[in-house]
Each structure stands twice: as C-alpha cells, then as structure tokens.
C-alpha cells in the first residue's frame, strides 16, 4: 500500500494490486540488472572485448573463458557484457524518437480532427503500406550503415503505431466533460491537449513502448546481422550472432550466449510491459 500511495501521489495513476505485481518486479529486476551490467562493463568484463588472442581461438566454455572464445580468440563473456551497452542504447533510442513523434502527431490528429486528421492518417496509411523491414532497410541503405541511420529509420517507421494509439484515445477523451470544461475555462488548445488530454491518453502508449522495445531490439540485431548496423569489431549481440553463424557446428557458444542475452533483455521489457499494463489497467 505504501508503494501504491506514493506512486499515486506522484502521477495520479491509481494502482490496482493484482497479478501484475510479479511480472512488474521481475521485469524491473531484469532491466535493472542489464543496466548495471552496462554501466559497470569495464569492471565486470574479464578481458578486453576486442582483444584478439590467436592462441585461444574457438575454445569451448572453461574456467578461464566461461562463455568460450570466438574465431578471433576474443572472450565471448566480455563481448556479451560490453554488448549490453550498445543494445540497451538501441532499445532506448529506437523507441524514444518514435514515441515522441508518434505522440505529437497522434495528439494533433485526434484533437483537431477534420482535414488535419485526414492528412495525417493518410500519411500513416502510406507508411503502413510498405512492409516494415523493407522500409526500414531502404532508409538505412539511403542514409548509410550505422546506428544513427538505424535510429532515424526506427523513428520514421515506428511513430505510426504511437500516433494511432494516441489518436484513438484523443477521439474518446476530447468529448469527455473534463476536456469540455477545460475549453469552457478558456484554456489554449495547447494546454487542453498537453496538460489535460495527453496525461490521460498516454498510459497505453507507455505500455506499448515496452513491447516495442523488444521489437526494436530484434530489429537492431537483424540490421547488425545484415551488416547495416553496428560495425565490427564493436561488440553487439546481433553482430556477434552474425559473425558466429559460420562456426555454429564447431563453436555453438559464439552464437548461443549473445542470443540468450537478447532473449533475457527482451523478456525484461516484455514482463515490464505486462506488469505495467495489468497494474495501470491498460488493456492491449
């Protein structure tokens, strides 16, 4: 109840304690754990992640190298630990820009309606008409490989989901009494939209952004796998899987451990999304 009160006092979100608590706690623990790993990577990693030691190429897991070594003799555990930095960054920036753009566009479309809504919704239709991956790849190829291009692509492609979620909420909320009250009190459109409607509309998007982070993470891995994202020798889980796949029959550990890392981080986001949705009463 103490948690409930303080969160309620801070955000005005009424928490219902039920089946959502367990996934929420697990999700926060996993993400918190990865965050600590990322922050303290220099202390935790036993070796330099890009140091190549020809003497220990393709060694299976052992006491010296718990996750084994890859074909260049690099320590896989160290690379997984350093990879957390890049992959957390991918999950965060891949979502944040899309979230901000989508929320703004969705608010404007839902609030003003009419031709503004028409134009913005047709724009969304255009983006949705392209297959997600094809559009993303096209943008990255045009801008040139690299994480910067990846973030731009995720923002340009990913905002549509947020825009549609927020717009649908706005369509309902703008006819509610408190919105009409705000208008009748002479508040500006900006104030009504962002101070009154948005705080009530955004919960669903916050929950969705957690599941979206999983998708972004996997996309980031896929892009790196295709050689369009993080460039070698930087340690990143998707890149590691791509590099290790040629040795899958003789060195399963090179691909398996970064794969498990992706799964674990994705699970953290997914659990957090589930727990948040359950507790905040948002149905997806």
């Amino acid at each position: 109840m103490n948690i409930s009160r303080s969160v309620n006092a801070r955000f005005g979100w009424r928490l219902k304690f039920n089946s959502g608590v367990v996934p929420l706690i697990i999700g926060i623990s996993i993400l918190g754990g990865w965050l600590l790993v990322a922050i303290f990577a220099p202390l935790l990693a036993p070796y330099d992640p890009i140091f190549q030691d020809a003497a220990v190429r393709l060694k299976p897991p052992s006491m010296a190298h718990p996750f084994g070594t890859d074909n260049f003799g690099r320590d896989v555990l160290s690379r997984v630990i350093w990879g957390a930095r890049i992959d957390l960054q991918i999950a965060t920036f891949g979502v944040v820009f899309a979230f901000v753009i989508g929320t703004t566009v969705g608010s404007i479309a839902g609030y003003y309606g009419g031709w503004v809504d028409m134009v913005l919704m047709r724009l969304i239709d255009v983006v949705l008409a392209f297959p997600f991956l094809v559009l993303m790849l096209t943008i990255i190829v045009i801008l040139g490989p690299g994480l910067g291009s990846f973030y731009v692509a995720m923002a340009l492609v990913g905002w549509v989901s947020y825009a549609r979620l927020i717009r649908a909420q706005f369509l309902v909320l703008k006819n509610s009494d408190f919105a009409i009250a705000a208008v009748s009190l002479g508040y500006s459109h900006k104030r009504v939209m962002f101070r009154h409607l948005l705080p009530n509309a955004i919960l669903g998007s916050i929950v969705f952004s957690m599941s979206d982070a999983v998708l972004v993470l996997l996309n980031g891995a896929a892009i790196s796998y295709l050689g369009l994202g993080v460039q070698p020798p930087t340690a990143e889980w998707g890149t590691m899987i791509a590099e290790g796949q040629g040795f899958i029959t003789i060195g399963w550990w090179i691909t398996t451990f970064p794969g498990l890392a992706i799964v674990l981080l994705a699970m953290g986001f997914s659990m957090l999304a589930d727990g948040l949705g359950e507790i905040l009463g948002v149905r997806q």
Binding site: S184, G186, Y187
Partner: protein
C-alpha cells in the same frame, strides 16, 4: 456593464446535427433537430431554470450559448456582443465571463490533477492573482464552497461526488464569471447532498450577484432555486414565465403534465391518473404543427394542421399552445 442591455439575449437559435448514417444506397436526411428557433433573455442577477425531458435540447442549449457546441443559425448576444459568429477574441472574452458546472462531478475534473491544481490553473491562465498569493486564493475558493482546504492535494478519485461538485463550482467561481450554466449539476448526487449544493448555489448567487442558467429535470429544485422557468419540448420553448406563476398556473398542457407528475411526500395523495404516456417523438422527424400533439391530452385536428404555435402571453408568462388563451384547463387549487 450597461444595465439596460440584458446579460444574455438569444434570438432564434437553431442547432441541427448532420446525420452520420450515410449508407451506400440510402442517403436519407438524418439531421437531428436539437434546437429549433429558441429565443430567451436573461437579465443580470437572474436565475433561469430550464426544464424538460431527456433529449429536449436543454444541454445543447447550454453548450451552444457558451459556444461549446456548433450553432446552425441564430444570434447570441452576451452583454450586447454578438458571440454566435464572433471572432476568436470575442469567444475568448466570453470564456472569461462565463463558466459551466457539469452533471458528472467526477467526469468534469481531470483525473490526473489534484483539485487544488485544477483551481490554481484557472487563476494562473487568466492572471487572476500574483503567483505569491495563488495558494491563499485557492484555499479561499475551497472555503467559499464549504470544502476542507486540506483536500486541495487530493485527486478527484479520492473525493466524494458532493466534494467533487463543490470543486467544480469553486473552479467555475475562480474565473469570476457573470453567467454560470449549471447543466444538471445535482442530478448525480444523493438527495441530502443535492440540498447542500442547492443551498450553496443560492448563497453564492446572493453573495456574488451571479446570473445562472440552471438546467434540470427535477422540478422541485427548479422551483426552489429559480426566478424564472423555461420549459423545453423537442428543441422548443413551450412555456416560459416567473417560477411561481408557471408552477401555480401552467398554461401549456406539457407543463401541466410535468407538474402533476411531481411526486408528493404525502402517501395519501395519489399521483394523477393522467400521467404523460409514451416517449417524445424522434428529433429527426418532428411532427407537423405543435410537436406535442401526439401526446397531448387536449389535442385537436388543428394542432396538427396549423403552423408551429408561437410563444405568446402577457406579463412575461408565455406559452406556445394555441388553446392557452382559452381557459379550458382546470386551474389547480
């Protein structure tokens, strides 16, 4: 303020909502005729009760005159200024001079904002008070509506319906309006709380010289609170006059049946046998002539055949029944 100009003058206000049922093959006219040529005057300091069944256009009227809904035609003069097709500057001015109190006390408040913040917001947006005195003024307003000032840090969900409605009134008063539109503002409350809120409104009206449009379907409350009453039926005013005269000597058969349907506390007094039957016709296809004739106990052929009867009468007591000058009603004793 010019005292010879009425605070609010509404002339021939029409609000029609375009129908949304546009099938592929049948495009019938589905226009909902919510308000049909409504005229009304409210003087400064006066409280007007607006009564009628659900769907009679009361709330549409309340929202239309505050420009919270679209108007089809007609004029709305607030303090002599035309606001029906006014500039955005005129509308902004209207918003600073008027306020609305809503039916659902919880729904009218932003659930994510403390009630203190909600009141403070009005004061800051309209620069009513220097920031240093903001808290003091919020406390003052809460005290004015009889709220414990400690509740300022609560959110609507932590308060009762009556408390929320007091906050709604305090927020309306924060703007220092000259006209308040109260849309069924006690209908969602318990009877004892209703009484408290009504007394609060009466007290505030005296103290602040407010004009009020009180929209309600509870006639007993209207009788207690209002100087004048207007009775609406299917988007038209069918009777209008000073409260005591309308209640004691109703001229329109619709008003008559509404008043006779007020339940009495005395269990020995039976309800009248001739209660109004049926439901009002659809506002999409209004009946010819007097819109009330399909349900009227005294309707004759000419009620259907003649044009819509105009409001007429003397000494400010007007009625829209073609028989209203012929005294065929038994006057209640």
């Amino acid at each position: 303020m010019n005292s010879s100009v009425p605070l609010l003058e509404v002339n021939d206000l029409v609000v029609h909502f375009a129908g949304s049922t546009m099938g592929l093959f049948n495009r019938s006219d589905q226009t909902v005729k919510a308000l049909n040529s409504v005229s009304m005057t409210i003087r400064s300091g006066e409280t007007l009760g607006l009564v009628g069944e659900s769907g009679s256009g009361k709330s549409t009227f309340g929202r239309a005159i505050l420009r919270l809904g679209e108007l089809t035609s007609g004029s709305v003069l607030f303090d002599g200024v035309e606001v029906a097709n006014g500039t955005s500057g005129d509308i902004a001015w209207l918003r600073r001079e008027t306020a609305m109190v809503f039916q659902d006390p919880y729904g009218a408040l932003n659930p994510r904002m403390t009630v203190g913040d909600a009141i403070a917001e009005v004061l800051t947006v309209h620069n009513k008070i220097p920031t240093a005195k903001l808290n003091e003024r919020v406390q003052e307003l809460l005290a004015l509506v009889g709220m414990d000032t400690e509740l300022a840090s609560r959110r609507p969900a932590d308060l009762s319906g009556g408390q929320c409605q007091r906050v709604g009134i305090a927020r309306a008063l924060a703007i220092e309006p000259r006209l308040i539109v109260a849309d069924e503002c006690v209908a969602a409350l318990d009877v004892s709380i209703q009484g408290q809120i009504i007394n609060l409104l009466i007290e505030l009206r005296e103290k602040m010289k407010l004009s009020m449009i009180f929209i309600a379907h509870d006639l007993a409350i209207v009788r207690r609170l209002c100087d004048r009453v207007a009775v609406m039926y299917l988007g038209r005013i069918v009777e209008e006059g000073p409260t005591d005269r309308v209640f004691n000597a109703p001229c329109h058969p619709y008003t008559q049946s509404l008043i006779s349907a007020i339940p009495e506390i005395d269990p020995d007094k039976p309800l009248p046998e001739q209660l109004l039957g049926g439901e009002p016709p659809s506002p999409i296809s209004l009946p010819n002539g007097c819109a009330f004739h399909p349900r009227c106990p005294i309707a004759q052929d000419k009620c259907r055949d003649s044009p819509v009867p105009a409001l007429r009468g003397e000494d400010g007591h007007l009625s829209a029944c073609i028989f209203s000058s012929e005294s065929i009603f038994p006057q209640p004793t």
